[in-house]
């Protein structure tokens, strides 16, 4: 091993800075999953009958399904009876009505994570919903948004206040029968965010949710639903962290987006769940279903994700392009280091005429990790003149990691056009030496080269998020160089 490689190996062993545990009392259901547990969750949340019925249907359907095995990831079978399906910080009353009522210990947690919950939020212009374990604990700027008719609140609250909207949209993009983890989520989801942007309204600030898994042996099953009505616009950010624990923790979320006529939704994620230690012990299983429906004509949905965490990632943010002239975009940076495994990509389903989609995927593998891009582009029989452009680039750091690309292309309309480009490269010792000879240390050099590789994706992120993402890349991306 050369000196340079050794230095890089050392850098790789940076500690996970969000790995602390918050000492806070919580109410949890005992581990295990049954119809009773599903009923209990629904009861705790005081849900209307239709939702309980839906959960139960999902649960019964889930029982008939098997764990998906097609992804390029390997892990011991998850024992679903060992997981607690509900955990909430203990509350004094019915829940915090303002920040003053939120447990200060909890606020300190979010402060450590850099989440702007209070006055800083106003300055940053970011409205934050924070989900701690299973429930939403704070939600800023609701009043200001409400003036414009924007609804931004925990899903459980929306169920109480806007049951007709929930009934109309929940499960219409990701039905509970969709896949194993979507069915599980539909049965036991505990909270999440709900956003509704009324017709013609441009949401004046970035909406943001921070997810945090704190309790041990808890699964997090949040569900997010965002609806942009005709001519509406919203940009939504999502960030995630979890403490370092030796056991694996399950995160099976569902995100549904609906864009009506000429509406636009930008959804950005910086995912930094605990990835496990360098030997692959612990870490989050991130099995997530994210899908958007471009229902209206000329609607647009962009997914931008920077994925650096989780032991295993299984995630394909997709767009169903139903409306004519609708646009779907997917910009992704997926980083795997040490023993991490990622199987991630997107699906672009073109149904309407003149629909177009762009996929830019950047995979970076270091250590002994496995990083796979899996993407489907489907042009339906009515997708006249539909277009897709896909670019998939992999960067390898060291000689013990692997990158894989699995593109699936199905074209049923002769006027449709699909372009696919792929490349694989390495950070070379030449590049590193060049930068060092210009005075940059190894850490800065690697960070610069990697950020250059990811530039097309990073520039799609909102400014304040882009800075965070770049720092995160700097922290988690150094790896070995061959």
């Amino acid at each position: 091993m050369t000196d340079q490689t050794q230095q890089l190996e050392t850098l790789t062993r940076k500690e996970y800075s969000a790995g602390f545990v918050t000492d806070i009392e919580s109410d949890s259901l005992p581990p295990g999953l049954s119809e009773d547990v599903v009923r209990e969750i629904s009861r705790i949340k005081n849900e209307p009958e239709f939702l309980l019925e839906w959960r139960l249907k999902a649960y019964r359907h889930w029982l008939t399904m098997d764990t998906p095995t097609w992804a390029h990831v390997q892990y011991p079978e998850v024992d679903f009876q060992a997981i607690s399906y509900y955990s909430a910080p203990k509350k004094k009353t019915d829940g915090p009505k303002s920040l003053d009522e939120v447990d200060p210990e909890l606020l300190r947690t979010y402060e450590k994570l850099g989440v702007p919950l209070d006055e800083r939020a106003r300055l940053a212009g970011v409205a934050v919903d924070a989900v701690f374990d299973s429930v939403s604990v704070a939600n800023t700027f609701q009043d200001k948004l409400a003036e414009q008719g924007i609804i931004f609140m925990p899903l459980s609250k929306a169920v109480q206040e806007y049951p007709e909207l929930i009934k109309q949209y929940l499960g219409t993009v990701v039905p509970y029968q969709d896949n194993y983890y979507a069915a599980l989520n539909s049965a036991v989801f505990s909270d999440g965010s709900f956003v509704y942007i009324p017709k013609g309204v441009r949401c004046p600030m970035e909406l943001s949710t921070y997810f945090r898994i704190n309790a041990a042996n808890t699964g997090q099953f949040e569900r997010t639903l965002i609806i942009a009505d005709d001519d509406a616009y919203v940009s939504y950010l999502e960030g995630c962290t979890a403490p370092m624990r030796d056991e694996n923790q399950l995160h099976a979320a569902v995100v549904e987006l609906v864009a009506m006529n000429r509406a636009e939704i930008k959804y950005s994620t910086v995912q930094n769940w605990y990835p496990g230690d360098e030997n692959g012990k612990g870490g989050i299983y991130n099995f997530v279903t994210k899908r958007a429906a471009c229902r209206g004509e000329s609607s647009k949905v962009s997914w931008t994700q920077v994925e650096t965490g989780s032991a295993i990632t299984w995630k394909y943010p997709s767009v169903v392009l139903q409306g004519d002239n609708s646009v779907g975009e997917f910009y992704s940076v997926a980083v795997t280091n040490n023993m991490q495994q990622a199987d991630t990509g997107t699906k672009m389903i073109h149904l309407g005429k003149n629909t177009s989609s762009t996929i830019i995927s950047k995979g970076i593998s270091a250590g002994r990790s496995q990083n796979a891009y899996r993407g489907l582009v489907r042009m339906g029989p009515n997708a006249e003149n539909a277009r897709n452009y896909t670019e998939c680039d992999s960067l390898l750091m060291g000689d013990r990691c692997a990158a894989h690309t699995f593109p699936y292309i199905e074209v049923k309309n002769p006027t449709a056009k699909v372009e696919h480009e792929a490349s694989t490269s390495k950070i070379s010792e030449d590049q590193l030496f060049y930068c060092k000879q210009r005075g940059l240390d190894t850490e800065d050099a690697v960070s610069m080269i990697v950020n250059g590789f990811c530039k097309q994706v990073i520039r799609e992120l909102p400014m304040e998020f882009a800075v965070e993402a770049q720092n995160l890349l700097g922290l988690s991306l150094e790896g070995s160089v061959g």
């Binding site: 070379s428 030496f433 005075g439 940059l440 240390d441 800065d444």
Partner: protein, 255 residues
């Protein structure tokens, strides 16, 4: 003042000895040319001076301004003013030229205890340096060396040198791959940077570069040793007779 002193330098790569006892002293303000046939050890010498990984120094020492260079990391040498103009400058996709230039300049300034330059001062400075090598401003916003022609890459190296103002510049085969116009522009850039406080080592296979950048001293490197030293006329001699005579020279001649 002695800028660089190389004493009895031996270096190996993969266990094979390439440098077999180099002695060389370069004073401040001097320009030395090191010539020699392929495989003589010219590139090894420049890599060892810059601190590239993979070489083992088995004997001897390298003093730069009296300080031992051998234990320093490449970036530490760079920050102290040792600059290598690469024979094959690498491409760094997605990283804009201006970003690298700024990061490099600020790394050097930080070592010197100076504040980082702000965007406006930096741009003013970089523009003035670009005139030296007749580079268009659009180069600042392109990815480092990506899609650059051979000549553009070499001009970019000299631009970096002009910006970083090193005390010791090593130009490794700067003339290779250049047409006559590009050679002239690059040479004019280098000549403009000649200074009583700056030393240069030009490594080249051909004499033609020395018509444009006239050295104070010329050394012939062969089989890991400097076998002959002289003034600029030595280069002319080599041009006429080639390198074949060197192999007949007895051990230890020159130095």
């Amino acid at each position: 003042m002695k800028m660089l002193e190389i004493k009895n330098l031996h270096a190996t790569i993969d266990g094979k000895e390439i440098l077999k006892g180099i002695d060389l002293t370069v004073n401040a303000g001097e320009v030395h040319a090191i010539m020699g046939p392929n495989g003589a050890g010219k590139s090894t010498l420049s890599n060892v001076l810059a601190g590239r990984d993979g070489y083992e120094i088995t004997q001897g020492e390298i003093l730069y301004k009296g300080e031992n260079l051998i234990d320093l990391e490449p970036e530490e040498r760079a920050q102290r003013g040792v600059f290598l103009a690469f024979q094959y400058p690498v491409e760094i996709p997605g990283v804009s030229n201006i970003y690298l230039l700024k990061a490099a300049l600020n790394a050097v300034r930080k070592y010197q205890g100076l504040d980082e330059l702000d965007a406006i001062d930096f741009l003013t400075l970089v523009r003035s340096k670009m005139e030296l090598v007749k580079m268009d401003e659009q180069f600042l916003h392109r990815s480092v060396n990506e899609g650059f022609s051979g000549g553009e890459k070499k001009r970019n190296e000299i631009l970096q040198m002009a910006l970083l103002e090193p005390a010791l510049a090593i130009l490794d085969e700067t003339d290779s791959g250049l047409d006559i116009d590009a050679l002239r522009i690059v040479s004019e850039g280098v000549n403009a940077l000649r200074d009583a406080d700056r030393s240069m080592i030009m490594i080249t296979h051909y004499q033609r570069l020395l018509d444009y950048i006239v050295p104070d001293y010329v050394h012939v490197l062969s089989n890991g040793r400097i076998v002959k030293s002289g003034d600029k006329d030595l280069a002319k001699e080599l041009e006429k007779s080639g390198y074949s005579w060197i192999h007949d020279a007895p051990e230890g001649v020159g130095a």
